[in-house]
């Protein structure tokens, strides 16, 4: 014989309550996982502070130069161009260079000026070399002009092509934020799926009146809330570092949500492949690291080789970065970032469908 289950009227109205309690349970476990809090909320801000202080100072460092014997040409240098100290002899000077104690050593014998530059501190060594040769050129020009006052000489002026007013924090922040959103999404989804495979929690929840779908929805909601919290905290750090927010900054909200959806989809693909937590983290790294570099997250894409710029076309992180740069920094209106929005939406949809089709639900 068959017994019909009593139809329960409250099953429909109970769904929101089940959803809310799942969001709460997952939210609590997220907050209690300190590594999550550090990784998602603190790390991106730390990265910003770090990178701003590396790229941050626009002043070029003052090269320290060792004067071996008497070097008259140095007397023509502007005060503050070099940090000059004396050296006993050439050997001592070269040794100091090797130790990295100075950037260059200079010897003058009549008209012959010899510069030894450090390869230990390659960058500052080259800067010292360039500035010293500029100094020698200046001296030559002065001498020649004196000898032939009627002959015109070429003067070289250099200036950075970018808008001088853009502080480093302004162009760094959107990229690092996009990277932060990406790692939360990818690592979060991949790690969560591996946990679910291990704990079989989703099986258990599938057998409650709330469906597994409600549970997955609750987990995605937690990820989206985390992304918004992360964005708010990050922008607060950026403002403290001197960032100016445009009036359209609020439009970062839909951009961040859409970006998170795209990164969660990538994470689901990874979580479908990985068997263990470290495996999931490794694969996530393999995806997010190169993506950060081809997306202009840490340095402007214009500085990257052409092939990198080509590759970046398929990276959702690039579109999130560009979109955030446009609305938060440049104050572009939402209409201007429609292409970025369209790309992220299509990307998220395509990867989500792929993840859905290839995922082995049996493993959950």
């Amino acid at each position: 014989m068959s017994v019909e289950a009593p139809v329960r009227a409250e099953t429909g109205t109970r769904r929101p309550r089940a959803f809310a309690s799942l969001v709460k349970a997952l939210g609590i476990s997220w907050v209690r996982d300190r590594s999550q809090v550090f990784f998602n909320l603190i790390l991106p801000g730390m990265f910003l502070v770090l990178l701003v202080s590396v790229y941050g100072s626009n002043e070029t460092p003052v090269p320290s130069v060792l004067e071996v014997g008497d070097v008259p040409v140095l007397e023509r240098a502007e005060p503050g161009d070099f940090e000059v100290s004396g050296a006993a002899d050439l050997d001592a000077a070269l040794e100091a260079l090797e130790e990295g104690d100075a950037d260059a050593a200079i010897v003058q014998d009549g008209e012959a000026v010899t510069v030894y530059y450090s390869q230990t501190n390659a960058t500052t060594g080259v800067i010292a070399l360039e500035q010293l040769s500029a100094l020698v050129d200046d001296v030559n020009v002065a001498v020649l002009s004196e000898a032939a006052p009627d002959t015109p000489v070429l003067e070289l002026e250099t200036d950075a092509a970018e808008d001088n007013s853009l502080e480093p924090v302004q162009y760094l922040a959107p990229g690092i934020l996009a990277w932060g959103i990406a790692i939360s999404g990818v690592f979060g989804a991949a790690g969560t799926l591996v946990d679910w495979k291990r704990d079989k929690l989703i099986r258990r929840l599938h057998l409650t009146p709330a469906s597994a779908g409600t549970f997955v929805g609750a987990r995605i909601t937690v990820s989206l809330l985390v992304a918004l919290l992360q964005t708010a905290l990050f922008l607060a750090v950026a403002v403290a570092m001197g960032m100016e927010l445009s009036a359209w900054t609020w439009f970062a909200v839909p951009l961040v949500l859409l970006g998170t959806a795209a990164f969660l989809a990538i994470g689901v693909v990874i979580g479908g492949i990985a068997k263990t937590g470290p495996g999931a983290a490794g694969l996530s790294n393999m995806v997010t690291m190169p993506m950060a570099f081809i997306s202009g997250a840490f340095f402007p894409l214009t500085a990257a080789p052409q092939w990198v710029q080509w590759l970046s076309v398929i990276s959702p992180m690039r579109y999130l970065n560009d979109g955030l740069q446009a609305v938060v920094v440049q104050g572009a209106s939402p209409a201007a970032v429609l292409p970025e929005i369209a790309f992220m939406a299509v990307f998220a949809a395509v990867v989500a469908v792929f993840a859905w089709k290839t995922f082995k639900f049996d493993e959950l």
Binding site: M1, S2, V3, E4, A5, P6, V7, R8, E10, T11, R14, R17, A18, A20, S21, L22, K24, A25, L26, I28, S29, R32, D33, D195, D199, K200, L201, R203, R204, L205, H206, L207, T208, P209, A210, S211
Partner: protein, 305 residues
């Protein structure tokens, strides 16, 4: 009585790239009456979990039919889930949540009150652990919490998949009491186990399962009676000469070695009286047939745990 579960000719084959084909469930049929305590007893790998998962509606069988409280468990129906409680083989909890948060979350999912959640913790004896994180509970406590989560929705039907596996004997006995009380409340209980004594102690009826098949289903007492096996009576050696033992056996088997004399009898009362009169009860042990012998009989091989 109404059937709580009717299972007919279930088939399930796993196809793994490395393992090849495994016929995990091969033509399983059984029926569980409402209010019954039903056990599935079998060694590891017998197909108990797979059978249970198909009955619960977690897995789709390759063939066969399941009726659960009169409905098909596949696809998943919220109304049916409301009437059943499940404890899976692996304890599945939300990470980082305390015992109370865990049970209250499950209560919400079943539409049960907080008071009911607290009552369940009390019933499984975890009230004093309410603030402990689930991952810090002992194995037995985790199983209790799992059972509490299964009961919080006040189900008619409860599935328990090897709840006592890997527990120490004391914790196992405690769980037995809990499981008995669940059945005494009028709930139908389906338990899988690979412990003979457990099935014998708890179940109204037991299905003996091996290699994907159910080989016998009946009450433990009937299964053992059906064996028609003699009772083994053992006394310490040195109290009876070999001849005297033969005489007392009255034509039944008696074997002696350096340590003991072992009788096999169908009339233990007569033999024991005779032994008592003889004053030869030192080191007495009486062993009737048990489910282990039933297993040996139906599978043709020794029980291995």
């Amino acid at each position: 009585m109404d059937a709580a579960i009717e299972v007919n000719d279930l088939q399930k084959t796993y196809r793994g790239r490395r393992t090849g084909e495994v016929r995990a469930v091969d033509g399983v049929s059984f029926r569980v009456e409402a209010g019954e305590f039903f056990g599935i007893l079998g060694p590891n790998g017998a197909g108990k979990t797979t059978t249970l998962e198909i009955v619960e509606g977690l897995r789709r069988p390759d063939g066969g039919e399941v009726r659960l409280l009169g409905q098909s468990p596949w696809p998943h129906s919220p109304a049916l889930s409301q009437r059943m409680g499940v404890q899976l083989q692996a304890s599945s909890f939300f990470e980082f949540l305390t015992v109370r948060e865990q049970i209250e979350t499950f209560a919400e999912l079943y539409g049960a009150s907080r008071a009911r959640a607290a009552e369940m913790l009390e019933q499984v004896g975890l009230s004093d652990k309410a603030r402990t994180r689930c991952q810090k509970l002992s194995g037995g406590q985790q199983q209790r919490l799992s059972i509490a989560c299964a009961l919080v929705g006040d189900p008619e039907l409860v599935f328990l998949d090897e709840p006592t596996a890997a527990l120490d004997p004391q914790a196992r006995r405690n769980l037995w009491d809990l499981m008995r009380s669940i059945n005494d409340e009028g709930r139908t209980v389906v338990l899988t186990t690979h412990y003979m004594e457990e099935a014998e102690a708890l179940c109204d009826r037991v299905a003996i399962m091996d290699a994907g098949r159910i080989l016998a289903v009946d009450s433990p007492a009937e299964l053992i009676r059906g064996l028609d096996a003699p009772t083994r009576v053992t006394v310490a050696a040195g109290q009876l000469s070999e001849e005297r033992a033969k005489e007392l056996a009255e034509g039944e088997t008696a074997a002696s070695d350096d340590e003991a004399v072992v009788f096999e009898t169908r009339d233990p009362q007569r033999l024991l009286t005779a032994l008592a009169a003889e004053g030869a009860l030192d080191g007495l042990a009486v062993r009737t047939a048990n489910l282990e012998d039933v297993f040996l009989n139906v599978t043709g091989r020794e029980w291995r745990e």
